[in-house]
Amino acid sequence: MSTATTTAVTTPVMPARPWLTTAIIFAALLTVPVWLPMLGGYTALAGRVLVLGLAAMSFNLLLGFTGVMSFGHAAYFGLGAYGAGLTLKYIAPSTPLAMVGGVLLGGILGSLFGRLIAQRRGVYFAMVTVAFGQIAFYVTYSWDSLTGGYDGLRGFSRAPLNLGFTTIDITNNSTYFYYFLLFVFAVATGLQALLLASPFGRTLVAIRENERRARFLGIPIERHIWMSFSISCCFTALAGALYALLNNFADPMGLHYSLSGEIVIMTVMGGMRAFWGPLIGAALFVVLQDYISSMTVNWMSFVGLIFVLVVLFFPRGLLGMLQKGTEK
């Protein structure tokens, strides 16, 4: 006879004043070209924060809001990068088309793969995602004639944006390119916020909080997890496509499990129950990596130490703790 258990459903951490957090974040992001150089930074660094922040936030749709752990999200990030690069190199020199190409490649493969694993849970789900990630990595690594192998895909560059009435030179002007990244980031995160505020998003949170109860309510759990996984892969692939545009190349390390681990670290450091948490985690990770690696070759030890300290002292992540503080 099974024992009936009662699980206390915790309320997800939502910011007390979500508009205030959003306003502060976008005010900071919009003024990056002004204040970042004064602090010893550079615009490309902020671009990297946006791209990896979008990847971590997309991953968090799955981990933070659906309660499912993937250790292979770098695969969709890297596939997005290759999709964009291959589109620019072989199809047409169009930046929007490259983003579509990246999202389609990463999103479709992620969606197909997600269909196969939606029934798995816990460590089994996580291990299968690692396996798929490594398959994607080795295919990319070995398909030298198409992907450039270990050296990566080169010979393409982002194209200026033609709006019909004017052309924006995101190829040579790094500030324009940063604002282009910010625009795409804002649209993508806006869509994510709408999705999470919709009945579908609330259902995902219900699955995360108590899957058994959600199933008793008649919610098709597997289908929701599959859809969440697919949407997460599409947004992660978009981040990968932006990464290819940022660097004008794509390489197989963009699909490697080590990057999947870094995405998890960013998400947990920032706060996986807070919408903007992964962005804060990505900013911390990228800036730490940039500064500390200039001082010592053992920079990963410091990043690891900071991760341990965050997990010990800020178990809800940096933003999660701040939001908890404002709620008191």
């Binding site: 615009t43 660097n247 200039s294 070759v297 300290l309």
Partner: protein, 415 residues
Amino acid sequence: MTSPTLPAIRRRTLIKSSLAVAALSAPPIISARGEVPVRIGMVDPLTGTLSALAVSEVEGAKYTVERLNKRNGILGRQVELLVEDSANDVGTGVQKTRKLIERDKVDVILGDVNSGIAYAMMGVTSELKVFHMVPGGHTDPITGADCKWNTFRVCNTTAMDAAAVTGELVKRFGKKFFFVTPDYAYGHTLQANFIKNLKALGGEYQAELLPITNSEFSATLIKAKAYKPDVLLNNMGGLAQINCMKQFTQFGMQKEMHLGGGLYEIESVRAVPADAQTGTWVMEWWWDQPNVPEVVAFVADFRKATGKTPTARHWFALVAIESIRLAAEKAKSLEGPKLALAMEGMELPRDIALTAGKSFFRAGDHQLMTDLFVGDVHPPSKGNPDDVFTIGSAVPGEVAAGSVESTGCKMVHPA
């Protein structure tokens, strides 16, 4: 009885401590300065499988910068070297290159040991119109089919290394080769060039491409043993080459076949057992060259300054930075386009070239033409741990390189 408790660290204490550390270690805000030093940015894989080679290049660069600053610097300005770790990762290498150019405003970029990273860095430096010197990334397209107006290279192409040594290997040991090759740009071009030369001499081969970071070679070495080649060419680099050599001797294969190949750098030779300190190889520069007094003087000065014997990697960095000085003095500028034009065809004086033959940067492909040394690696002799190579012959760079047309380079300068 109460259990002992550890003293608790409060979260507030942690935050205060972290802020204090961050404030102390934050980069200073730079204000306008009168005499700004010449800034040289260097990107190399200080961590990862090629780290030993990268560390030598950085040591060579530091030595050269110190030497220049004791004299008159570059264009009368002091020189500052900024080093960034590419971690043997292409994405990180590109990011660090952008950082050095956009944030640190370096005048020139050096790097990377990893050919694939050097190749990717070229995209950034040409986009941002910054002069780029590749001291030690060997893959051919850098000064071949993908050559750029702003990129010059000190080390040889793989075509030069293969052309210099293949004939010697065939003549002394036979025409049956087995290649162990890293699966990236450097390995691909090196193996392709060996095969081209071997086929021209009527030879045959088998080859195995392995990941650049490979550490386990037993399956490959068993295949090699079964093939019974005359020569095993270990084309791996850094730690991977060292691991392959160790396993080669553990299998006792040194009694069955000869060793040889493109590069077996002194950093790697020092790290392997005496049994594996053997074979016929190319050294791109050697510290013990007969009848070149400039080399003797340099080796003595380098040993005095660093306590080490200079390797080819130290020399790469020295030639790279000293060549930039010479070109800047000729152009009276550090602007990329002017520097590049000044360096085209520039001949290096003997005290910088540090070799008996003629050394110059070929205008058509920006490749340094200098002597290559073909000879035998052996265990340390004369009580000197660095005396592990005996020069057999010096092959002039132009002879090994062939014509500019054969490289596929079509140099286009900016308008």
